[in-house]
Symmetry: C2
Subunit: 307 residues, 2 copies
């Protein structure tokens, strides 16, 4: 048995997998630990795994391997990954956010390595990309990306058949790139006018006073005003996807996330048109597709990190 | 002896290297071949290498290995690299450019493999990056980029210790990304308002009626009007460098090229400030430096591709 762990800003989930099929067993989920010392999150993860073991009647000590898909960004401390996410760490978010801790980071890899023999931590979008490459829409595609268009925007990147990690495992934070001069939108990261600030789910609600599903539903059923707003969202998101393609010479981009998934038939051709509108020598061979694992891509992300 | 070949839109150069030091021997250079059949460029390269061999009194047949640094973009034909550059191929550039051929591509790797046993072709900026990693400012840096700010804008990228190539070897065409809404600048690639269209050397001349060296010279000596224009150039170029950093989680970016090199002391802190103004978790550990190989980075690019 191996442990599959999914860490988000809101909740943490742990489950077990027997290494023979894709079943996730004895799934346990709790609100993300944010009080006490800054190893509280890692302790919570270990406790959830141990609880799952007890639930299916195996010895916790028999689980020696863990795949961890976590929100970021990460920092490295003596080579070990810690989480420096502003929705978990009060010391980063500042007093205005009212988090019940003053952590600058949440420890992660180091305490887990005391519990497990083998630990692989990746950014959640890198892990989702690994899942799409193993079981989804990116199988046998050496130059590809997984992009989640959800509450935020995240990306996992693969070039020449290898996942990109970067100096702290933060490659793929390309939702925070700038593609326009719009300076009326503030991102959670502090940027003014980056892609996430302009088109992420929470940005749509803030900018247009309508949740993304409602706005996209209106556009899909022909409302002219809604179509104009969604065209602008697609222009910004399309530019981000084009920028990725021209930077990395990609073959295929798989898209998921709540904003995209609910209206993918409406969005996909509009995004593809944005990409193809530029530099054919680089974009002609780049195809946008919906995530093959659909809404389950997050569930399989941690599992994809295990051999 | 090995062959080092440098292919640009204007000229082609070939030289020899004995594999023991960095000396480039018997350098031959000619205007890039653009007439006849579309293997003319490859034939020219082979002839220049053979001429160089004769000049130093060795048998051309003894040179079995070639490193080729070439302008792009590339396309693959049956797995072999061909050059699809609009400044070489009349079939791409269209009749308005008046090139004396109708090539859709110039053959490259395939004819060279008939002449040499071992051929390694890379985009010129990828090759320059390889040179900076071996002998320049990017030694022992696993997450890095080389950026040339010259007549055009080109980039070579390295993540997790590996050069990025992409589906056709075109990774690093990030000078063609969009970072602003300016729609008053047309790029050679057809894009309106991409980074190259806004800040490359030829764009500066076109937009401001002054060559880049003159404009930067004025800014460096305190001219307020020139400073304002250069600040805008740095904002655009700084955003491109920031986008690269947040996409790839880089440690160091080495800059070269004629626009940058002549006023690097003026430009470097302004570009660094643009990068550091955003998302500290990703940019704090990313340093901008001038190319360690200085103006010679192009000379060593092809050599860096040889073992």
């Amino acid at each position: 048995m191996r442990a599959c762990i999914d860490i988000g800003g809101t909740k943490v989930a742990a489950s077990l997998n027997d290494g023979k099929d894709l079943q996730l067993l004895a799934r346990r989920s709790e609100p993300t630990a944010k009080t006490g010392a800054n190893d509280a999150l890692a302790r919570q993860v270990i406790r959830l795994v141990d609880d799952a073991c007890v639930a299916i009647g195996i010895s916790p000590a028999s689980v020696r391997q863990a795949g961890v898909s976590s929100c970021g960004p990460f920092v490295l401390n003596q080579g070990r990954i810690e989480v420096a996410a502003p929705n978990i760490c009060g010391g980063i978010a500042g007093p205005a956010r009212g988090l019940p801790n003053d952590w600058m980071t949440a420890l992660l890899e180091s305490p887990l390595l005391e519990r497990f023999d083998q630990v692989r931590v990746e950014n959640d979008c890198v892990a989702a990309l690994a899942a799409e490459r193993r079981w989804g829409a990116l199988q046998d595609v050496d130059h590809c990306a997984y992009v989640t268009w959800s509450t935020g925007i995240g990306m996992g990147l693969c070039v020449d058949g290898r996942l990109l990690r970067g100096k702290n495992g933060n490659a793929g934070h390309a939702g925070h790139m700038f593609v326009s001069d719009n300076d009326q939108a503030l991102c959670g990261c502090g940027n003014i006018g980056d892609v996430e600030a302009l088109v992420a789910g929470n940005a749509i609600a803030r900018r247009y006073g309508s949740d993304a599903a409602t706005l996209l539903g209106k556009a899909a059923s022909g409302d002219a005003g809604a179509r104009q707003l969604v065209d602008e969202l697609c222009r910004v998101m399309g530019r981000a996807l084009y920028n990725l393609t021209t930077t990395l010479d990609l073959q295929r981009i798989s898209l998921g996330g709540s904003v995209f998934s609910h209206h993918r038939d409406y969005l996909l051709p509009r995004l593809q048109a944005q990409v193809e509108a530029h530099f054919p020598a680089l974009t002609a061979g780049c195809e946008l597709v919906a995530a093959g694992l659909g809404e389950q891509v997050g569930d399989y992300a941690a599992l994809a990190l295990l051999d």
